[in-house]
Symmetry: C3
């Protein structure tokens, strides 16, 4: 029994944002055992799972990944969509566009410190579309 | 209802290659709602989803990732299979060996700009084997 | 038909460790066709698939990723949980917390050289909890 919905997230600024509650409020009734996949339909944003408590973790993600995968690197040829565009594509493949979370006893079975991150890699990414698929 | 096939992709040179059409032509009839997993059975290649339009994006992936994870780094001990081997293993775990794509209304529900990338990290990787699993 | 178990892995030192046999001995009877998801409930460890033969590959993972994502980087603000903490969060999102493996003919359908890695990013990570979900 598969259930699936596609939703638009609100616009977020460039950076890493916890969207666990936004996702949970859109989920159908969850089974005893299953899996939820969340897939983002974009090549300049990503989804990940990481620390849900201290905001400095998300700030360090932003600072460190900007340093690791910088704007205006001399090897880039794909530069006409803005200096944040090619780094966004690279980050999207390194972080990933999809998370898969076990469902147990009617809930997303995340660890105590795990939250779902929307990783917005562009300055003006706008509203991002995600598809949530539940398998029972 | 699970369907599964294993196929060999044609040989590709080192680099990033769009294989969306190659995959789509091997898919069984797709349901209204489901998920497709594509898994590559190798440790020196990867699968990802990224920009499907401008070839310079794939060229920049090749240049930038070669710079980020270089050949002949002095820390490498695993050097006897060629200078492209250890970087290939590292890239494979950072990019990933598996993509999971929602199926909606009988089609792979990729975003407008999303294509499936075969990431070939070796000079002579040969024909890569992938298993496609469809869940309905 | 979904089956799911949650297990604790033994404690491992910081580094990359093959846990294929540990996972296989905990799997239920596997079907002809399916998928197994393994999910780690932590933000400072990861799961990946990579080379299962030469131990120097895992040593190079440890050396190279420590260099790529170093401790004590000047951009980090999240420093009060130890110098290995923020690098662990970053590695966890780059490597990922989840692997998805096809099941074929009653077995995990891994390639000849593929093994499941527990990626322990902390000095004293302790016993890590993973949930294994099987879809048939």
């Amino acid at each position: 029994m598969t259930e699936q919905i596609t939703i638009k997230l609100p616009s977020f600024p460039k950076g890493y944002h916890i969207i666990t509650a936004l996702i949970e409020e859109r989920l159908p009734s969850l089974p005893d055992k299953g899996l939820v996949n969340i897939f983002i339909h974009h090549t300049s944003a990503g989804l990940s799972i990481n620390e849900n408590a201290d905001p400095s973790v998300r700030e360090d993600f932003e600072s460190f990944l900007n340093k690791l995968i910088p704007e205006n690197d001399p090897v880039y040829k794909h530069i006409f969509e803005g200096s944040d565009d090619m780094p966004a594509h690279l980050k999207s493949s390194l972080i990933g566009q999809s998370v898969l979370i076990p469902v147990t006893n009617g809930k997303l079975n995340l660890g105590t410190w795990q939250g779902i991150y929307l990783c917005e890699f562009r300055q003006h990414g706008g509203q991002r579309k995600v598809t949530i698929t539940l398998f029972t």
